[in-house]
Amino acid sequence: MPQDNTPAPSPNTAPVTSRQVSYNLLTPKIKRNIRGEIVPHRTPPVKLTFQDKYRLLKNYTLGRFLKPFRVILPLSLFLGSSQWLVLQHPPHGAGSLLLGSLIVSLGLMLLLEGVRTGMIPFGEIIGQALPQQFPLPLVTTILFLFGTGLTLFEPSWKPLLAAASRLPVATAPHVTYLANAKALWLEGVTGVAVGLALVFGNLRVIHAWNLKPVVIGSLALALVLTLVSWLMPNQEGIIELAWGIGRATSAPIAVSLILALGTGVFVSVTHGNRAGWGLGLIGLSALFATIGVLLLALAVAVTTPTQSIIAMARETVASTRAAQPASIVDAMDSALRATLPIVCCLAIFYLFVLKKNIRNPGMLLYGMALSILGLAVFNIGMGLGLSTAGVEMELWLATLSQPSAILSAPTPSGYLACILFAVPLAFGATLGEPGLNIFGSAVESLSNGVLKKKRLILLVASGAALGTAIGVISMLFALPFAWILLPACLLAMLLALLSSEERVALAWDSGGVTPGPMAIPLILSVGEGLGGALNGPGILALAALGSIITYLALGFWDRPIPGATGE
C-alpha cells in the first residue's frame, strides 16, 4: 500500500512532499495462456483529470507560442515606433499591428508544429522509400516533378513578381516584359530549375558526390551570366530580379519537404561518405533558379529586339492589377494553393507506394492540417500588421533618403537613420523567419544537438542584417548592384572553397531559406523605399549572401562539425 513518508526533518522544509509507492503495485499482472506463454498485455488508455489536461495543453501551447511571439512583438514595436519617430504622429493602425503580431506568432506556432509533426516525417519517409522501391530513372522523374510542382504552387515569391510587373517600362523594359508577357515562362523556368536542383542534389547524395564543386560550379556559372547580363544594354533590373527570385523560391513548407526529402534519401543510401546529412538541396534550388532566370532573360534579349520588347511591355503593363493587402480569404486561398497540391501529391505517394511504411498516419495528417492552418493564419497576421506597415514604411523611407518636403536635402543623418533602421529590421525579421526556424530545428536534431538552432539563427540573422546594411548603403550612394553582388559572390566562392563540405551545405541552405515570407515583404519594402522598385529584389539577394558569407567566415573560428570528413 502507498505509505506516507513524511520528509525527514530538514533545516528548511521543501515546497514539496513525497510519498513512496512500490512500482510492483502499478505494473500490470501478466497472464499466461494454457501453454504457459505470455499473453500480450494491452495498456489501457490513461484517464486524465481536467486539471492534468489543462496543464498538459498549457505546456504544449504556451512555450511554442511565446517563442515566436518574443521575436515578432519587438519587431512590430520597432517598426511602429520608428514610423512614429519619422512621421511625428502615431502610425495608422497601431492596434492592427499589435493584433497582427499576435496572429503571426500564432500562425508560426501552428506552422512550425505542423511541419515538425507532419511535413518533415512524411518527407523523410518518401525520401527513404523512393530509392529503395523504384529504379533510379523513375526516382529522378518523380523528384523533378515534385520540385517543379512545389515551386509553381509556392505563393511566397509572387510578391516579387508582382512588384517587378509594376515597374515603369521606360526604366526596365526587359524586367517588365519578363514579368508581364513572359510571367508564365518565368514561373516555369524557376520551377524547372528547382526540379533540376532536387534531382541533381539527390543524385549527389545517392552517388556520394561532393557538394562543394557543385555549389562553386553553379555559383561560377551564375557569376558569368550576371556579368554578361550586366554588360548587355537595356538589362536593368534583370540581375536583381534573378538573384531575388533565387532567394525567394523556398518558402516554409517547401523547405521542410525538400529538407526532409534530402535527409530521407541520405538515410536510405549507405555509403562511405557520410558528410553533410543530405543537406544542400535548398541552397542548390536557389542557385539553379537564379541561373534559370538569367538564362531566360539572356535568351529573350538575344532573340527579341529591344524595340518590340518595349512595345509589348507597354501593352501588357496596363492590364496587370496593383497589389492588394491580403484579406482573410486571400490568405486562406494562398495557403491552400501552397499546400494542397503538395498534400495531394503526398496522398498519392501514400496510397500507392508507402502505405506499409507509415506507422502513424493520424499524427502525419494532424501535422499537415496544422501546417496549412498555420500558414493561413501566418498570412492573415502578416497582412494585418507587418506587411501593411512595410508598405507604409516604403513611403516614409523614401522621404527619409531623398530630397523631399520633410527633409530639404538628403543629410548624412538621414542616411545613418536609414541604415540604423534597416539593420534591426532585417535582423528581427530573419529571427522570426519560419523557414529558418524549421531548418534550424532540423539541423539541431540531425547533429544530435551539437549545432544549436539558436546559434544558427543568430548567425544567419546577423549576416542578413549585414547584407541588408550593405545593400542600403549601395542604394543610398546609387552604386550599381553588380558592383556589390559580384565581389560578394566571389568572396562567398572563396570561402566555400576553403570551408568543409558540411559548412558549405549549412551555409547555402540557410542562405536559401533566409528571406522567406516574413522578411521578404519587409526587406523588399526597405529596398523599394530607398532605391525604387528596381532595386527591391537585389537587397534580398544581398541579405542572403550576407548570411552565407557570415556563416562561412565565422566557421573558421568555430568548432569542427561532428562527422565532418574534411575538418
Binding site: A14, L56, Y366, G449
Partner: protein, 118 residues
C-alpha cells in the same frame, strides 16, 4: 612519474528523460541545486504518450536524456529541484530516476583536494 587517480565514492547518478528542448531547464535546475555537470543526449521514447489518445499529440516523441552525477548528500535536493523545475508532475513531461554508482573519477583541482585533507 606516476600519476594519481582520485577515486570518488558516495556518488549517485541522476538520469532525467524529458521532451526535446527541455534539457536547458533541467540542467539549470540541477546546477542551482549544486550539481557540477550534466550530459545531454538525444533519444526517442514512448510512454504515457501512447495512452493519451488524441492528447498524445501534445507530448513529443523526441526526448533528451540528461545524466547528472551527484554526491549522495546532494542527491535528494537535486532530485527534488529537477522534479519541480521540469514539472514532472504533468503528464508526458518526463521521467526521473537515481542509480547508485560504484565509483567515479575525473579531474579534481589540487587545491580542492588539499582543502578537504584532514
Amino acid at each position: 612519474m606516476t600519476r594519481t587517480m582520485t577515486i570518488l565514492t558516495d556518488v549517485k547518478l541522476i538520469t532525467c528523460i524529458v521532451q526535446r528542448g527541455m534539457s536547458d531547464i533541467i540542467v539549470k535546475a540541477a546546477r542551482e541545486a549544486g550539481a557540477q555537470g550534466a550530459t545531454v543526449t538525444y533519444a526517442k521514447g514512448s510512454g504515457v504518450r501512447e495512452r493519451l489518445g488524441l492528447l498524445g499529440v501534445a507530448v513529443e516523441v523526441d526526448k533528451e536524456i540528461i545524466t547528472i552525477v551527484v554526491s549522495s548528500q546532494q542527491m535528494d535536493a537535486v532530485f527534488e529541484h529537477i522534479y519541480l523545475a521540469g514539472q514532472l508532475d504533468v503528464p508526458g513531461m518526463g521521467f526521473l530516476y537515481v542509480t547508485p554508482l560504484e565509483k567515479a573519477a575525473t579531474f579534481i583541482p589540487n587545491d580542492v583536494l588539499d582543502k578537504i585533507k584532514p
